[in-house]
């Protein structure tokens, strides 16, 4: 049984691989009956060992990814959101699976893509095939039966567009500020292609500036200064 994994587990990186290590402070042991006993003659001490147990879905890697560069609708238009504890999940067997809401509070488009969080076993992204105030319908074989009671949130996410289907009406999967940064990036590439390196540098500065602005927009930093007793106000 793994415990205090933040203190007892470590990793190294080797190319495209992660090497997992467990930190143990152990001695040589043997099992007598149902008791594990320490052997007095041998001592191993502190050491790194390979993982010494199976843990289902035990390793979690969080990373930034290059996925879905283009979507069918702008991020600003995907604002539908609903939270309630009156939502239930119905496995339709051979027919369509459905999500029902006894409070009739759904407000999604008929072919919206949605993300579910807070459920016991149905968290994930789903493509709707129909939508009414009380029922969301999707393809069969997607949902697990779950009765109402959990506090569940469902919100709309943009539909991705396959690379081969991207056309001029497709949206970049970025918010407006970052889309403007992309415009600067393309201008920089165009200037570089005609040998205007000074122009390229200017556009790249604008690109990085917009990236910085986008990040600082997420942070509300307040600064306070002690007022001098002799300060003139």
């Amino acid at each position: 049984m793994s415990f205090d994994t933040d203190r007892n587990w470590m990793y190294t990186l080797s190319g495209r691989n992660i090497h997992l290590w467990q930190w143990v402070e152990t001695a040589a042991t043997d099992t007598v009956g149902s008791h594990r006993v320490k052997l007095p003659a041998e001592y191993y001490g502190k050491q790194l060992i390979y993982p010494n147990e199976d843990i289902s879905s035990g390793l979690r890697v969080e990373y930034t990814a290059f996925s879905e560069p283009f979507v069918a609708e702008s991020l600003e238009d995907t604002s539908s959101r609903y939270s309630a504890s009156t939502i239930a999940f119905v496995d339709g067997g051979g027919g369509s699976d459905t999500i029902t809401d006894t409070a009739n509070g759904f407000d999604f488009g008929t072919t919206d893509k949605i993300r579910i969080i807070g459920s016991s076993s149905n968290d994930g992204d789903y493509q709707l095939t129909n939508s009414t105030a009380g029922t969301l319908t999707m393809a069969t074989g997607l949902l697990t039966v779950e009765s109402l009671g959990e506090s569940i949130t469902i919100y709309q996410i943009p539909k991705s567009v396959a690379d081969a289907s991207v056309d001029e009406s497709s949206h970049v999967n970025l918010n407006r500020m970052l889309s403007l940064a992309v415009v600067d990036y393309i201008k920089a590439q165009m200037k570089e292609s005609v040998g205007d390196l000074q122009g390229k540098e200017y556009c790249m500065r604008e690109f990085w500036k917009k990236l910085g602005d986008n990040e600082s927009n997420k942070r509300n930093v307040s600064m306070t200064f002690p007022a001098s007793p002799f300060a003139i106000k």
Binding site: D6, M10, R16, I18, L20, E62, T64, V182, M190
Partner: protein
């Protein structure tokens, strides 16, 4: 913002080139800022130390291991020193 709007703002005529440069820009943005975060989970196997980084990874944010006493994933530390063991021909 649509691909068409970006092309009009920049004066770029070739759609294919616009797509390629937009992808380059997105790659650059996501390598610097965690704009789109993904999570990959793998089984830990007794006696196996090597696991694969996700193929679509741009930058690594964190690695966690499940604490089975409370079923929570806890961030683990990277060993900065070079490990002496390079190849194990007789793992446990």
């Amino acid at each position: 913002m649509t691909l068409q709007e970006i092309m009009e703002r920049t004066g770029l005529k070739e759609t294919g080139l616009a797509k390629a440069w937009i992808k380059d820009a997105i790659q650059l943005i996501r390598s610097q800022y965690p704009e789109k975060i993904k999570v990959d989970k793998q089984n830990i196997i007794d006696g196996e130390r090597e696991y694969i980084l996700p193929a679509d990874m741009i930058s690594l944010l964190s690695i966690s291991v499940k604490d089975t006493t409370d079923n929570k994933y806890k961030r683990i530390r990277r060993i900065s020193n070079d490990i002496v063991l390079k190849e194990d021909t007789e793992p446990e």
